[in-house]
């Protein structure tokens, strides 16, 4: 009888299964996984095959747990399927080698149990994964809502104060309204960009950088004036063109300029230079933040790294900018100029 065979050769089957798993190229299963998962399944299989009307509930439940467990340990769906497949092979091999008398019906029942187990484990794995992704999404949405409401709340409160007429339009309340509306705008743009990047809806068109930079300059110089900073934009040769998603590039460059203005000391200057050489186009945004210090440069692109005092925004700007530039076939980097500031460079292939 199959269940007697399985019971009698339990240790051997487990050992063979482990050996097969060890041969897999993909992440090696840990001893702990084989300790709890496969032996448990095997024991329940023995129970199920022993009873006259095998009820597979226990198998289904343990297979569920097994699938969830494997997700937590970072395994893929393929691993889950291979686990059960390896048990089946181990059993079949051992049975053949020892000439065990197992009927075709019993093998049929055995395969049925395996099918149930695989289906259940994979379903549970998929369900847990979706749940985890949704939970992450919900958390991000909550954070975004909080940021948006802070900016909106500050805007509404300051406008309300202005309406009472007790303060003039040239003071700090009006400036706060201005800042808050701008913050809302940035939050909305960055959210839309993220959604577009995640859904891979990236278009491509021929963009003349001359006109592109000029449009960005108009808004940027207003911002610079408001902060008491100078903005220098070197003239861009008319011949420089790129094939990109215009909105994604605009978002990335605007974000770099916003950062440059945010971190440049009062009275300082932000410079933008666009050049082309060897089939590559470079856009350099240089600020006067005083320099970053050794080793800090690459950390800036990690989500939630934030410099110094102005902490408005979600800290995602630079990491979104990098993803945007990479999505349009380019590269973004930063260079520290000690004691002076940083130079952020966007590099793209010339159209």
């Amino acid at each position: 009888m199959l269940h007697e065979f399985l019971f009698a050769n339990r240790a051997a089957i487990i050992a063979r299964t482990r050996a097969k798993v060890a041969l897999r190229a993909a992440p090696r299963a840990t001893e702990a996984e084989l300790e709890s998962g496969i032996p448990l399944f095997l024991d329940q299989l023995i129970e199920a095959l022993r009873s006259p009307n095998p009820a597979n509930q226990a198998i289904v439940k343990s297979a569920s747990n097994h699938g969830r467990d494997l997700l937590k340990r970072g395994f893929t769906v393929a691993q889950v399927v291979y686990d059960y497949g390896d048990v089946c092979q181990a059993v079949t091999e051992l049975a053949a080698e020892t000439h065990a008398s197992i009927t075709a019906d019993e093998f049929h029942a055995f395969n049925g149990c395996l099918d149930d187990a695989i289906a259940q484990a994979v379903t549970e794995y998929g369900r847990s994964r979706e749940q985890s992704i949704t939970a992450q999404g919900t958390e991000r949405l909550g954070d975004l809502a909080h940021e948006l409401r802070n900016a909106l709340g500050a805007a509404m409160l300051s406008f309300h104060t202005l309406k009472t007429g007790s303060v003039g339009l040239g003071g700090s309340t009006a400036a706060l309204l201005d800042r808050s509306l701008r913050r809302l705008s940035i939050l909305i743009d960055s959210t839309v960009t993220q959604v577009r990047l995640e859904s891979s809806s990236v278009t491509s068109e021929r963009v003349s950088l001359n006109q592109f930079i000029e449009e960005i300059e108009v808004v940027a110089s207003m911002e610079a004036n408001a902060r008491g900073l100078a903005l220098s934009v070197a003239p861009v040769p008319a011949s420089i063109e790129v094939m990109v998603d215009r909105e994604l590039l605009a978002g990335a460059i605007t974000n770099l300029i916003q950062n440059a203005l945010k971190f440049t000391r009062t009275g300082g200057r932000v410079s933008i230079k666009t050049t082309a050489a060897n089939g590559r186009v470079r856009i350099d945004v240089e600020d006067e933040c005083g320099g970053l210090g050794p080793g800090k440069a690459e950390g800036l692109f990690r989500p939630f790294e934030q410099r110094a005092t102005d902490r408005t925004g979600l800290g995602l700007g630079l990491s979104i900018s990098r993803r945007s530039v990479e999505a349009i076939g380019g590269h973004i980097g930063v260079r520290d100029v000690p004691g002076v500031g940083c130079v952020f460079t966007v590099e793209l292939p010339h159209a």
Partner: protein, 134 residues
């Protein structure tokens, strides 16, 4: 003997707690013409400033803040003998915070206002909390 000059009623003291700089500036701008306003940057800072003399007449606080959130801060204020009767208005930016409030069972008196609500609502609740005619 000359009569003593009539004493001016001193302005009520409001403590506002929020980790967002824009909100602190906006609330200060809204309330400082009528009240004396003190600002705190998170729950821990709020607790420290609440304990300093003079005692606030009202505390307005965000919920979601680093270090010590608004609800945890409110619970500690409730446990403090000198502070436990101070009314609290929670200013919330996340709807999930309302559920937290409902579950938190903070002692009276408290109410809440959404950050995106019309500022009139906040002004009215401030007046009521301070026992002023709305």
């Amino acid at each position: 003997m000359s009569a003593e000059p009539p004493t001016q009623p001193s302005r009520k003291l409001i403590l506002f707690v929020d980790d967002d700089e824009g909100m602190r500036a906006a609330i200060y701008g809204l309330l400082s013409p009528r009240y004396h306003v003190i600002l705190a940057v998170d729950g821990a800072d709020g607790l420290t400033k609440a304990k300093e003399a003079p005692r606030p007449d009202l505390i307005i606080s965000d919920i979601g803040m680093p270090l010590l959130d608004g609800i945890a801060m409110a619970n500690q204020i409730r446990e403090n003998e000198t502070l436990c009767a101070i009314p609290i208005i929670f200013l919330t930016g996340q709807m999930s915070a309302l559920r937290l409030l409902a579950e938190a069972h903070i002692g009276l008196p408290f109410t809440h206002v959404a950050k995106s609500a019309d500022p009139i609502v906040l002004e009215t609740k401030v007046k009521r909390a301070l026992g002023e005619a709305a």
